[in-house]
């Protein structure tokens, strides 16, 4: 492969990884607390304040209902406000995060819900505060599932980040559209797809491995 072409791919891959991991980090930062709130506010939960749970649930579902390609466009003013520009790799992190937060929250909620209510009840009965239960029981007991959920989120973000190329984000998607699609460079397109496939497989295998290691001690 020509040196310049290699550089092009290398930079694009780095940009994709930057977008994916930065927005995944933001998704966990906001999505995990959101998932915890969604879980504990359920009836019979640790903090059963229904209205809060319902409101958050609706907000999450509304965001998830908007197709990503539309969210990308709709969020342009917001992105410009936050990042100063709506173009480029850094700017793409905004819509990617916005779509990943509710996505991860719903997946994480499933894992958190699976933690035995009896166990939570028992630890409460031992005199633990709600915060202590969340910190020491809910999250650690759900951790293998949370890691699996993060893996799924990362894979989805790899796909979404390629889509962000449409609105001028950098990365592999951008490369595929500018060279592969607009200039009919099929070889380039295939290379991009191959790299995306490899990235996806690596992320999935890595996630599976970590989750399995964590799950080792669980029945």
């Amino acid at each position: 492969m020509h040196r310049q072409v290699f550089d092009l791919f290398f930079k694009a891959t780095l940009a994709t990884l930057e977008m994916v991991f930065a927005s995944a980090a933001i998704a966990v930062f906001f999505g995990l607390p959101l998932a915890i709130l969604l879980t504990v506010t359920r009836p019979g939960g640790l903090w059963p304040v229904r209205p809060i749970g319902r409101m958050l649930g609706i907000a999450v579902d509304l965001t998830r209902a908007v197709p990503f390609i539309i969210l990308l466009v709709v969020l342009i003013p917001f992105t410009r406000f936050v990042m100063g520009t709506a173009l480029g790799t850094a700017a793409a992190i905004v819509p990617l995060s916005i779509t990943a937060i509710p996505y991860f929250a719903r997946i994480a909620e499933v894992s958190l819900k699976e933690v035995s209510p009896e166990l939570i009840d028992a630890v409460r009965a031992m005199g633990a505060t709600r915060a202590k239960v969340v910190r020491s029981v809910l999250v650690p007991e759900a951790l293998p599932g949370l890691v699996s959920g993060l893996t799924v989120t990362l894979v989805t973000l790899i796909g979404a980040s390629a889509m962000a190329g449409v609105v001028g984000a950098g990365g592999l998607g951008d490369l595929a559209i500018r060279y592969g699609y607009q200039r009919f460079n099929t070889a380039m397109m295939l290379w991009v797809v191959s790299i995306l496939v490899v990235l996806t497989i690596l992320v999935q295998l890595g996630g599976n491995w970590i989750s399995a290691r964590l799950r080792k001690n669980f029945i």
């Binding site: 035995s116 009896e118 166990l119 009840d121 028992a122 630890v123 409460r124 009965a125 031992m126 005199g127 633990a128 505060t129 202590k132 020491s136 029981v137 650690p140 007991e141 951790l143 001690n217 669980f218 029945i219």
Partner: protein
């Protein structure tokens, strides 16, 4: 080795229940229940499933609120306590569960540590106290194992160690041996007996196993449809002085079991 905290209350009654009632959906789960438990006593709570045993146990530690009546733990009325005070009082009550309720994500030491963390014990003291508790329940060498690597009996030992972390005055056991095989049951009962005699911990235990009653209980309360229908000492029960038919049926099940199992001296071993 483990010092018992002296109770602030001068009363000899660790636990006192006065006219306790609780209803679910307009039906009494517990109706006008009164009894008290002396310090150092082992009280067995028996009754058919649905008789209200677990509800009663939950009321004793404030996990369920009562509709009327009072629950006094070491002289303090549970229902007048603020949430904070209730949390502190709960730490004076150790809980042992049928399903163990251990954290899968923590080792034996970690699970015991959880109780100490809840008590607010500093990290340095925790390590020392964990060693004491592990020694007490006989789990030396298993400190770094996860619950999934333990037998049922060992898991319950972790559960008991955890329950004892805060030097509790009372241990509430909800079917603590029901998930265990006979051998593990015997060893857990021996452990509970030791805890009672050597640490002076008062024990209230729910069980449907007459063997548990026979081995441990100083006194037996029989619960039926939310009421206490019999309050009888262990000796009187073994002399066949039970008045209520339900108690008698429990006892007959006991002697039948003994014959079935052909255990020598079973029926005469008393309590």
């Amino acid at each position: 080795m483990i010092m018992q905290n002296t109770s602030p209350a001068e009363t000899n009654e660790t636990l006192k229940i006065e006219g306790l009632s609780k209803a679910f959906d307009g039906r009494y789960a517990l109706e006008n229940i009164s009894f008290s438990v002396r310090r150092g006593e082992i009280v067995g709570l028996i009754g058919r499933s649905g008789a209200g045993k677990t509800t009663l146990l939950r009321c004793l530690n404030g996990a369920d609120s009562v509709d009327s009546g009072r629950v006094l733990v070491e002289g303090r009325n549970l229902s007048t306590l603020k949430e904070r005070e209730l949390l502190v009082l709960r730490q004076r009550i150790g809980l042992v569960f049928q399903g163990f309720n251990l954290l899968q994500s923590r080792t034996v030491s970690g699970n015991i540590s959880l109780a100490l963390e809840i008590l607010g014990v500093p990290r340095k003291e925790r390590l020392h106290r964990i060693q004491q508790l592990i020694h007490l329940v006989g789990l030396e060498g298993h400190e770094a194992k996860y619950p999934s690597q333990l037998s049922g009996g060992q898991k319950q030992r972790v559960g008991i160690a955890r329950a004892l972390a805060g030097h509790p005055a009372i241990l509430l056991c909800d079917e603590a041996t029901s998930a265990l095989d006979p051998e593990a049951t015997t060893s857990i009962l021996t452990l509970l007996e030791t805890i009672n005699t050597e640490l002076g911990v008062t024990i209230v235990l729910i069980t449907h196993e007459m063997d548990v009653i026979r081995r441990l209980a100083h006194r037996v309360l029989v619960l039926d449809q939310g009421r206490i229908v019999e309050d009888i000492s262990g000796e009187a029960l073994s002399r066949g002085e039970a008045e209520h038919s339900l108690t008698q049926s429990f006892i007959s099940r006991l002697s039948n079991n003994a014959e079935d199992m052909e255990v020598a001296g079973y029926a005469s071993s008393g309590f």
